[in-house]
């Protein structure tokens, strides 16, 4: 029993964090997000050079072979720096999906190797999401069709863009016509892989939401320390302190739930879906509280486009319903906890 991370896992997170701090500052994100495509090939190339896209590609295909547990840290960094969807979707969600397909699956190893190199962007069209993120620049779109896994190029699909309040989001409605040639895996292998993919997508959102929550808390702390009213920093007022203390508490208590879920998913535990839904609910709730209290302690400035809070706030609102909305995840938890044969109680913290 050891509920902590290894030195390697923590060091990798630290390295990515330091890299993104210099390479993805808010002013640069604003510039990128204002372009038609909303993405920077240069930034993406640099992130690949840092090893991010290779993180969970198996070593045989040129990757680092790390698992969901490493991603529970990495997605927090992606959230903290509001990195666009295609990174998590390609490097974590799509990689997991391809990994889950049996050896010998057409294109599997080739795509994994390209992901590791940072040469390919993959959008993932899971049926749980009505709209798909980052299709407009994807080289490959993985879609579900009657349980099967299909890979299509952007040219092979139709898509209609749907602008979001979050400037970083690029959502599209897909129209696809899968065929025998686009099929990577049949429904027997596909269904299980898609189930896991939903859990990875949800966990990616959970991790990013937690990172966003931390960013909003940090921005809020900075603001209330320097902003003065009645001759004092507003951060010295108890009402302001309590708002931010509540955000800090929510974040601290969502973290272990996220890590627990990542572990369950990595080990393929039977209760993984329950853990993932719990994590997504807890992390998104922390992010929404960080947004609500963040805007409150920023005063009217928080309601403007000018302060950076808005970038992270809108992102957490946007992500909340992706990879299963709250109703979806709440009902998964309810179903598990209220089941007649549910193993709940003090002795089952780890499903033993």
């Amino acid at each position: 029993m050891d509920f902590t991370f290894t030195e390697d896992q923590l060091a990798f997170r630290e390295a990515i964090s330091r890299f993104l701090m210099t390479e993805a500052p808010p002013e640069m994100l604003r510039e990128i997000w204002e372009t038609e495509e909303g993405r920077s090939p240069t930034m993406r190339r640099k992130m690949a050079e840092q090893g991010l896209t290779a993180l969970s590609v198996p070593e045989a295909q040129g990757g680092l072979g790390m698992d969901d547990i490493a991603w529970s840290l990495m997605t927090q960094e992606l959230g903290y720096y509001a990195i666009a969807d295609s990174m998590a979707d390609t490097a974590y969600v799509a990689t997991g999906l391809l990994n889950a397909l049996p050896a010998g699956t057409p294109r599997r190893d080739e795509l994994l190797a390209q992901i590791a190199e940072g040469d390919v962007r993959i959008a993932v069209g899971h049926p749980v999401n009505p709209l798909v993120a980052d299709v407009h620049l994807a080289d490959v779109v993985l879609v579900e069709h009657q349980g099967e896994v299909h890979a299509l190029s952007r040219e092979q699909i139709g898509y209609e863009r749907n602008p979001s309040i979050d400037s970083s989001r690029r959502l599209s409605r897909l129209s696809v016509t899968p065929n025998a040639e686009s099929c990577l895996a049949d429904a027997v292998h596909g269904r299980q892989a898609w189930d896991q993919t939903l859990n990875r997508g949800a966990l990616a959102v959970a991790g990013q939401s937690l990172g966003l929550a931390q960013r909003m808390l940090d921005l809020s702390v900075d603001y209330v320390v320097q902003r003065k009213q009645f001759g004092k920093p507003i951060g010295s007022f108890q009402a302001v302190k309590h708002h931010l203390a509540d955000v800090a508490s929510k974040i601290e208590f969502a973290k272990p739930v996220l890590y627990r879920a990542a572990h369950a998913l990595a080990r393929g535990e039977a209760g993984a879906a329950l853990c993932v839904s719990h994590a997504k609910l807890a992390c998104c709730e922390a992010a929404w509280l960080a947004a609500r209290h963040g805007i409150q302690v920023h005063g009217a400035m928080g309601y403007t486009w000018e302060v950076d809070l808005q970038m992270f706030m809108k992102r957490c609102w946007a992500l909340d319903s992706s990879w299963g909305d709250r109703a979806f995840h709440k009902s998964r938890v309810a179903k598990a906890v209220l089941a007649d044969d549910a193993t709940i109680g003090p002795q089952y913290t780890f499903g033993s």
Partner: protein
């Protein structure tokens, strides 16, 4: 990260489970807020001690088992799952015990610690005063040195079960000129000393849950002082943090309550038709308790690797106290018209235990430092916000 128990840990769990199965009283004990129930609980604690289950983390020569924090979590999980009696000597075991281990003289340790573990001595805490609750540095009760004694005068309040306890410990002002946290001395005082008067205070449930203690020139031998004269604040603070945050309310207690709440809801499923929010509150309660347990394991892992726990203890305090409220409020919503019934009522559900828990939960955000104070601590020490 590997979240599987070792063979040794599994064997330990099995041993705890087997002993509890054979020994937990089949009928609930009377409330420890009554004289009769207090003595029943003392006897139960003695039974625990005789089989070295009273203080599992204490070293073997003090009657413990030298368990680590993970084993302690396992013990607590089994203890609450077995519906074993609530622990009655927490003040002695969780607050005074660790203080004596760190600051007590060899003689004090030898004498007091085994008696605490066995509950031969039951302890009431003497921290709060009428004008020094959450602001503990405002303590005014005096302990003036007179040769080999201190002469103690003043008043303490909110001393849990002081009506029945044998001793109290607390801070007293030994330097009359001193201010705030300077000049305080940590003393242990027998409650049968001449000059001690105890006035019980009835809690919401009508029982003598706590009391005021009056000291009128009570002579306390110098050897009942812990640490140096005037260093009481330092002694008290050094052992307050982590233990209060985690050990005081182990997650298993809340997981067991959440499990009971799920069962209560399942026995009354029609309530969700009238108020769908109840089902949501039940699910949220289970998630809250589960999150607290996972946070505890996470914290324990960090502590075992040498991390120091600071403001996180305050977060724990807020979380468990508010979770406890939420769970019992939800139970009251499910019970509806039966919620108000006392345990003696013929139609009381679960022996009135939800009402008792509901009343006790009202105190959670107040005792052990109000949640307002905890939020200030988080904001100032963890987030670095300026003091008012």
């Amino acid at each position: 990260m590997h979240l599987n128990y070792t063979d040794k840990q599994n064997a330990f769990r099995a041993e705890v489970r087997a002993w509890l199965k054979d020994n937990v009283p089949s009928q609930p004990l009377n409330s420890y807020d009554t004289r009769e129930g207090f003595e029943e609980h003392r006897a139960w604690e003695r039974k625990l001690y005789d089989s070295r289950w009273s203080m599992v983390m204490w070293p073997e020569h003090l009657g413990g088992r030298g368990c680590d924090l993970i084993e302690w979590l396992i013990f607590e999980e089994e203890y609450y799952a077995a519906n074993a009696p609530m622990r009655v000597n927490q003040n002695g075991q969780l607050l005074l015990g660790p203080t004596l281990m760190e600051f007590g003289s060899e003689e004090q340790k030898r004498h007091f610690l085994p008696r605490i573990a066995s509950s031969e001595d039951m302890w009431a805490q003497g921290w709060s005063e009428p004008n020094a609750g959450s602001d503990m540095a405002a303590i005014r009760s005096k302990a003036i040195r007179d040769g080999d004694h201190y002469v103690v005068s003043g008043q303490k309040t909110w001393s849990t079960r002081a009506s029945f306890a044998d001793w109290t410990f607390g801070l007293f002002r030994s330097d009359p000129q001193s201010q705030r946290h300077h000049g305080l001395t940590y003393l242990m005082v027998p409650l049968d000393s001449p000059g001690v008067t105890i006035r019980p205070i009835k809690a919401l449930n009508g029982k003598e849950a706590f009391a005021e203690i009056f000291f009128d020139e009570v002579r306390v031998p110098v050897e009942h002082r812990i640490g140096a004269e005037g260093q009481g604040w330092h002694v008290a603070m050094a052992t307050a943090g982590f233990e209060r945050g985690l050990l005081l309310r182990s997650p298993a207690r809340f997981q067991q309550t959440a499990k009971r709440l799920v069962a209560l809801y399942q026995a009354n499923p029609q309530i969700a038709e009238r108020d769908p929010g109840v089902r949501d509150a039940v699910i949220e309660s289970w998630m809250g308790a589960q999150a607290y347990a996972q946070a505890a394991y996470h914290t324990v892992g960090l502590v075992e690797k040498g991390a120091k726990i600071g403001a996180e203890a305050s977060i724990n305090k807020i979380v468990w106290s508010e979770l406890d409220l939420k769970m019992h409020e939800t139970a009251m919503r499910i019970l509806g018209a039966y919620g108000e019934l006392r345990g003696t009522a013929p139609e009381a559900v679960d022996g009135g235990s939800w009402l008792e828990g509901f009343l006790f939960a009202q105190a959670g955000p107040i005792y052990a430092g109000t949640n307002e104070i905890q939020r200030n601590i988080i904001a100032e020490r963890m987030l670095g916000l300026p003091k008012a």
